[in-house]
């Protein structure tokens, strides 16, 4: 009982923290039909600045980190990304009204990572004065890319299997693949194509740029005097946008199966728990901090909102974007952000932060 009371008290106090309050504020605005708009170029720029801040910060820390302390959580992050996709693809595809293709696309998006949610997690740890490894941002691409590649490869393979089955039964049929072209030219080449696309996406390339500059150049002064200073304020605006966006995407879900609503509400919690468990393991092995465990859970709970959707739209054109974008942006992201305090309280209780 005490534990639940503790969690509840902590939770309520967290809702007043700027990060969550701005998210909720955005949802309320959209629900009231407000005409407030943050222009798209401004939104893109804010996301870019946050990604650079996360990347630069991680890069600067990586310089001093030792390889083992880095490699273990990186492997764990990739594993969690893959596990989410395997598990999500299985569960979701079994539910009524969900095609195999749509299930994999949705699971891919939920396995991938949202930079905004991760940034919100960092800001909330900072507010609480909880320490975490500086290099945490460097784990982002491992989980993100692993999840997207797994989802796309599995979806394409199953589509090819289905097409092959149809060809053998319906003589004369042709397996036409829209758009991308050449997906049949060998799995290695397919994986290579997906990897190239993912690395070129706006979010991953901004993060990797920040990482590279942090490691190779000496951006410490501009990082501290600009990126880090603007971080909290820009994040508050981003939370507002995500709240408005979530509300307006919810309506997309009316046109798809109910299964998506259940998945969008529960998956962030299940995935977060998986990430949390992986974090505890890493904590045992390398002394990974409590804050680090929280952020691994936050990454796992989050679903990609910027780079994931266009990557999936290009690679899995048969999947319905209303289903996966609606589930992820409309439900997954707000649930993931609102559950950040949960992981903080949990980590505090289990290993202290």
């Amino acid at each position: 009982m005490d534990m639940i009371a503790d969690i509840l008290t902590g939770f309520v106090a967290q809702m007043q923290k700027p990060t969550l309050a701005f998210l909720i504020g955005g949802m309320v605005l959209a629900a009231c039909g407000s005409k407030l708009e943050i222009p798209e170029p401004v939104y893109k720029f804010i996301v870019f600045l946050l990604l650079m801040k996360v990347g630069l910060g991680a890069g600067i820390s990586v310089r001093e980190a030792n390889l083992f302390e880095l490699a273990v959580p990186a492997v764990a992050a990739a594993m969690v990304g893959i596990a989410i996709v395997l598990f999500g693809g299985q569960t979701l595809a079994r539910l009524r009204g969900v095609t195999q293709m749509d299930a994999m696309a949705t699971a891919g998006l939920f396995g991938a990572v949202s930079a905004s949610t991760l940034a919100a997690g960092m800001a909330m740890l900072d507010e609480e004065g909880i320490a975490y490894e500086g290099f945490i941002g460097a784990l982002y691409p491992f989980m993100d890319i692993a999840a997207l590649v797994t989802a796309i490869v599995l979806a394409r393979l199953s589509a090819e299997r289905k097409a092959a089955a149809q060809i053998s039964t319906q003589p004369g049929g042709a397996a036409v693949l829209a758009g991308g072209g050449g997906h049949g030219a060998g799995n290695a080449q397919m994986v290579r194509g997906i990897l190239v696309d993912t690395f070129r996406s706006a979010a991953i390339s901004a993060l990797l740029l920040g990482l590279a500059l942090g490691i190779l150049a000496r951006p410490d002064s501009v990082y501290e005097s600009f990126y880090d200073i603007l971080f909290r304020g820009l994040l508050s605006i981003l939370m507002l946008i995500m709240g408005m966006e979530a509300w307006s995407r919810l309506s997309e879900l009316r046109r798809v199966a109910h299964a998506y609503v259940a998945y969008g509400l529960l998956a962030p919690l299940v995935h977060g728990a998986l990430g949390f468990a992986a974090g505890l393991l890493v904590h045992q092995m390398t002394g990974f901090s409590g804050g680090g465990v929280v952020l691994l859970a936050v990454m796992a709970a989050s679903s990609s909102d910027i780079s994931g959707p266009p990557t999936l739209r290009g690679a899995l054109p048969e999947a319905n974007p209303s289903a996966y974008v609606g589930t992820s942006t409309g439900l997954g992201t707000p649930v993931a952000i609102l559950s950040i305090p949960l992981w903080i309280v949990l980590a505090d209780m289990l290993i202290g932060v």
């Binding site: 829209a178 974007p321 974008v325």
Partner: protein, 105 residues
């Protein structure tokens, strides 16, 4: 003034590159595109608020070709390649041009 045909394709912004490739392969000497919003069978799409990911934005692509058969071949190719999985419409219009050599390959 010379007779020519204008092809118009309105579709998802994510496939702009693929569609223009088909237009060029079909023998057009150029094309023009503008950002667009709209509504069709797959719901509202907007150039200004395409959602955080940009997956919900439209683009309107136009190309002028001298030969009507070529025009039909291009929009048929675009339709077959994209319109099963991507939302979009395509149509042609008769136009009159001034400098025919601009539109000959």
């Amino acid at each position: 003034m010379y007779q020519a045909t204008k092809i118009v394709i309105i579709t998802e912004r994510t496939v702009l590159d693929g569609v223009t490739r088909l237009i060029e392969q079909g023998g057009a000497t150029g094309y023009t595109h503008v950002e667009a919003g709209g509504k069709g069978s797959r719901g509202i799409r907007s150039a200004n608020r395409p959602g955080l990911s940009g997956v919900m934005a439209n683009v309107k692509i136009e190309a002028i070709v001298r030969d009507k058969a070529k025009a039909e071949a291009i929009i048929t190719a675009v339709s077959e390649t994209y319109f099963r999985n991507y939302s979009g419409i395509a149509y042609v219009e008769p136009v009159e041009i001034l400098r025919p050599h601009k539109f000959d390959v």
